[in-house]
Amino acid sequence: MDPLILSRIQFGANISFHILFPTITIALGWVLLFFKFAYNRTGNDAWMQAYFTWVKVFALSFALGVVSGVTMSFQFGTNWPGYMETVGNIAGPLLAYEILTAFFLEAVFLGIMLFGFRRVSNGMHTLATFLVAFGTTMSAFWILALNSWMQTPAGFEMRDGVAHATDWWAIVFNPSFPWRLIHMLIASGLTVAFLIAAFSALRYLLGDRAASMRKALATGVVIGAVLIPVQIFVGDLHGLNTLEHQPQKVAAMEANWQTRANVPLVLFAIPDEQTRENRFEIAVPGGASLILKHSFDGVVPGLDDFIGDHPPVFAVFWAFRIMVGTGLLMLVVSWSAAWCLWRGRELPRPLLWLMVPMGLSGWVATLAGWYTTEIGRQPWLVTGVLKTADAVGPVSGSHVGFTLAVYLALYAVLLIVYLGVLVHLARKAAAEGDPEPAPAAADRALSQPAQPAE
């Protein structure tokens, strides 16, 4: 097969796998810090037990994030050498700052956070937890700055076909960056909220009534219920910003083939690139004009303005629908649960059963969102600067195909084991209460006596 296609699939597979775990760790770090503060303030053991259980999930997700991230750092060189050759002067410093300011911070203090509870003071342990959370967020900051720059490049000039930085502030705070950062951070918060709620709901269904489980359940539900309306609002603004800077992407998201007023909001359709129209369309008249231009007769740019230079419509259209649909589902579920908790009722069983699979809703929406963003940027790798097809390396198709197959098999196994371990941890916690965190080898670190000062 064509190395270009294979390289794209491989990159997409690797980054899709990678993003699953940072999405969890970015927000989970802050949730752990919250558990810690709640414990420090109230002295209620249940908070610390919730911490113990979730710090394990954190360690596991972090390990998967790190190993898949190490893979990512080689992907640019092995699959897209043309990328660094053309925009290396911009991408390089951003990646370097990510490594220097984020990766080391997380990696070093993670050891203290996981295994150091009895070896350092409580204050130091809280600080380590904070630094890890801060590090993961910084990591997201830098990598999203780079990705946003690829979407909406700014602050550079081309000399002899190579991009040179002229204004670093403009590069980092390029037009789409603030929205992408906020939207991604909230996405992470939602992913974690629904994961915690699902895990706790599973424990409840298994008969567990521990105080720590209730505390975690409430935390998950409340965070979810608060964040989801914010996310929908921010998503809307993000879309308006995209309309301004990448109109062809929004046209593909809305499957709008003609520039015109009164554009309908398409709820369902099979976009057909051959005939350049939608089949089986179900639409709300004037809806898209209203959302994007705040008036029914607002003129919205359509795909006919970008013939030969717009992304594949079907994938972008449906990825966007999946994200928004998942978001709306999240709204319904978290608000129903929050309403029950507000009224001081036990959550009804059907709702609990629904919450368990919803634990993965954050992943679904995040992946769908990223597919919208990344496929929506095609055929460009860096909008207006570098085409994806021009960045591919000289590696033979058979090599890429072979490694791709191995990666896919490995990722499938790891994903299954990861989810299996989560379920196992939930069952174990339901049966035996929240054990202290599994440190190096056994569930024992916290019961070790503190080392005498040397």
């Binding site: 360690a59 190490v70 080689f74």
Partner: protein, 351 residues
């Protein structure tokens, strides 16, 4: 090195001003930084990969302790690899593409190994007890694959990224030897971090692994000059030979000291437990210095010099500014973490 920083002496009101020729100096500085992070990586991840390899020889009840000796560190250790690859990527974008596409499959094998061991490390403690053995095996296999593929890459790189059966054969030889060297590092770390029966075992492991390590260093040292006339001339020219001689001599001497000293380990009161690890680190550093001297000024042997492959000076400058500020902080808190987890790893029981 000296040419890069040209002192221009200007006598403006009696002061001397040094101006630095940045386009010349920056690639050099970054080559140095990259070398430094590769070296730190090899020493640090060397010992934890080595411990993974030693899983093959260890008894089941010892494995938890062995994991305990690397638990808080392995993640940070691996970050030095990310930094090294990152510096290659950001400072020498042209070389990055050439090297990584030439080494496509071994890089893949290494990543595969690193993924396997990284996740096995965590999964083994969290899966139901009866599945733990499976993840122990994967932890060992992953570590071995990662070490072997790094050695293979070193071998092929030393031959100037040449292709063909000879290069592949040599790659496999170096692969075995680097894995042995990592095993020696792992054993040396265990000598420092454990006590009792496991420590005695570690001494024996160290001594067996040492034999292959010596062989490997010898092979690389001989092959490098033989593969390239340019490198041959650099080493075997008369005045240079004199001041280069201490390098191989010191290495040989250190090996000898290590061999003799380790015979009497462990000492009562556990004196000198850290000595093997320190000696091995110095040996690694010396070997590395030799390689650096051989290849300078090339990053892609015989094809691209560090100046040809470097990114634009203004981009390098902005990275350097950050690095000079952040690197000391990183080193400081890394040392802090090693201190927090200093002393013997405790024997963890499993329930």
């Amino acid at each position: 090195m000296i040419a890069a920083i040209r002192p221009h002496q200007r006598y403006a009101k009696g002061t001397t001003i040094m101006t630095v020729d940045w386009p010349t100096a920056l690639p050099l500085i970054f080559a140095g930084l990259m070398g430094l992070s590769i070296l730190i990586y090899v020493v640090l991840d060397g010992f934890d990969l080595g411990i993974g390899i030693l899983f093959a020889a260890a008894a089941d009840h010892e494995k938890d302790t062995m994991i305990g000796t690397i638990g808080p560190f392995w993640d940070a250790n691996e970050t030095w690899l990310v930094l090294a690859a990152g510096l290659l990527l950001v400072a020498f974008p042209l070389a990055h593409g050439v090297i990584l596409t030439a080494l496509y499959l071994p890089v893949f094998a290494m990543l595969f190994g690193l993924i396997l061991r990284g996740v096995a490390f965590d999964f083994r403690a969290k899966v139901p007890v009866h599945r733990k053995g499976r993840w122990n095996v994967l932890f060992c296999a992953g570590s071995l694959i990662a070490a072997l593929s790094q050695g293979y890459m070193l071998g092929v790189y030393v031959l100037g990224l040449r292709e063909g059966a000879g290069a592949i054969g040599f790659g496999f030889l170096v692969a075995l030897c680097l894995a042995a060297a990592y095993t020696a590092m792992g054993a040396a770390w265990l000598i420092y971090k454990t006590e009792g029966a496991l420590q005695e075992k570690a001494v024996r492991w160290l001594r067996s692994a040492l034999v292959l390590t010596v062989l490997g260093m010898g092979a690389v040292s001989l092959a490098t000059p033989l593969a390239s006339p340019r490198i041959f001339d650099k080493w075997f020219e008369f005045p240079a030979m004199l001041w280069l001689a201490p390098l191989p001599l010191a290495t040989a001497g250190l090996f000898l000291v290590l061999w003799l000293r380790s015979a009497t380990l462990p000492h009562p009161q556990d004196r000198h437990a850290l000595l093997p690890f320190c000696i091995l680190s110095v040996i690694f550093a010396l070997g590395f210095a030799g390689l650096a001297y051989s290849f300078y000024p090339y990053v892609v042997p015989e094809k691209l010099t560090i100046w040809q492959a470097a990114a634009a000076p203004e981009s390098l400058a902005i990275i350097l500014a950050g690095t000079l500020f952040v690197l000391p902080v990183i080193i400081f808190y890394s040392i802090y973490a090693y201190r927090v987890f200093g002393g013997k790893a405790t024997d963890l029981s499993y329930d």
